[in-house]
Subunit: 202 residues, 2 copies
């Protein structure tokens, strides 16, 4: 998600909105600025520490989580939540990074009824050995005060990526790069996420 | 560079230091935080707009600049600046991402006499067709009010990466991933930078 003051944020909360302030201009020598941003704004990564006090933090994410074989699944027909039957149709192998493309990718505003991942489907992803799970919602679950989906994934060492934009991405296999900032002790971070087609390998 | 309040910043300037504030805790449901960071703190990318008013901005950087064939050159014996004779010893080909490893990578504090890239060497990189130039200093030049090295590179469409940490990286060829945040209209951004050995290709 491009980062700007008017971007869509979770539940339209003010504290999630980024502030970008120009600090110097070309007339003073160079354009320079300051960015203030919430740890869960835009396309971002959740470190286990986001939900689990004993979970590892952003700067402790193993590098192999950031670069991997990624499968993008087209689930745009789902109208409420990704259930166990939906996820069972996705051929997932041990070590996969799994990106879930839903109708969320076509929303321009925050939709309180966003598509999310059910705890049962999360457990299935754990059982299949997924390494990373990404979704095109600003949270991977909704109306879940106990964060059950988050807990199932994070306590099983599955990294979560939220706020993906997959409208222009076709279902298929890619190499994914997930690049959060290495904030020491961080619970989450905006991240640049890139998908590379095999034909672009160097 | 790991991001934390006490990290090394350019000329030890206060406004370059990041501020990380905890906003919510597990007791309130989840750990969440806010990061305020300068556009040129830590490992970061300079968009042409940093120095050139008409230059393109951070969110306009072509994706092919972010993923490329990278050559890391060992220049740790240089004591002042990377001159034309130094850079001529580096076999650079059209399209290369060039990372310059100097003694800066071994510094733990800000050294006002950091190693930098001379304008003549920058022009040589332009002539050889480099696509991206990275250095392990927080600025690619010093004591240069006209930003000559920056200008030569940026007006020739070479992206600059500063604040690399290359102590543990051997000279050689890699695939590089340079992942700044896509800040709309931005002049620069902290970036996660990854080097991949060929043996790790998927």
């Amino acid at each position: 998600m491009p980062i700007h003051a008017g971007m869509v944020v979770y539940k339209n909360r003010n504290e999630h909105k980024p502030h970008i302030e120009k600090v110097r201009t070309i007339e003073q020598g160079s354009n320079e600025s300051r960015l203030c941003i919430y740890s869960h704004t835009g396309t971002h990564v959740d470190a286990p520490y986001h939900i689990l006090e004993e979970g590892y933090k952003l700067d402790q994410i193993p590098l192999y989580k950031l670069y991997g074989k990624c499968k993008v699944f087209n689930l745009v027909d789902i109208k409420d939540r990704i259930g166990i039957e939906d996820i069972k149709r996705c051929p997932i192998e041990k070590g996969d990074t799994v990106f879930l493309k839903t109708r969320n990718s076509y929303e321009e505003n925050f939709n309180y009824n966003f598509i999310y991942l059910s705890p049962e489907a999360a457990q299935y992803l754990v059982d299949q050995g997924a390494e990373v799970v990404g979704i095109d919602a600003l949270s991977i679950e909704r109306n879940s005060p106990e964060h059950e989906t988050h807990r199932i994934l994070l306590r099983n060492d599955i990294m979560i990526v939220e706020g993906l934009r997959l409208k222009d991405v076709e279902e298929g296999e890619y190499t994914s790069i997930i690049a959060p900032l290495p904030i020491v002790g961080g619970d989450g971070s905006p991240a640049r996420v890139l998908l590379i087609k095999k034909s672009l390998y160097i």
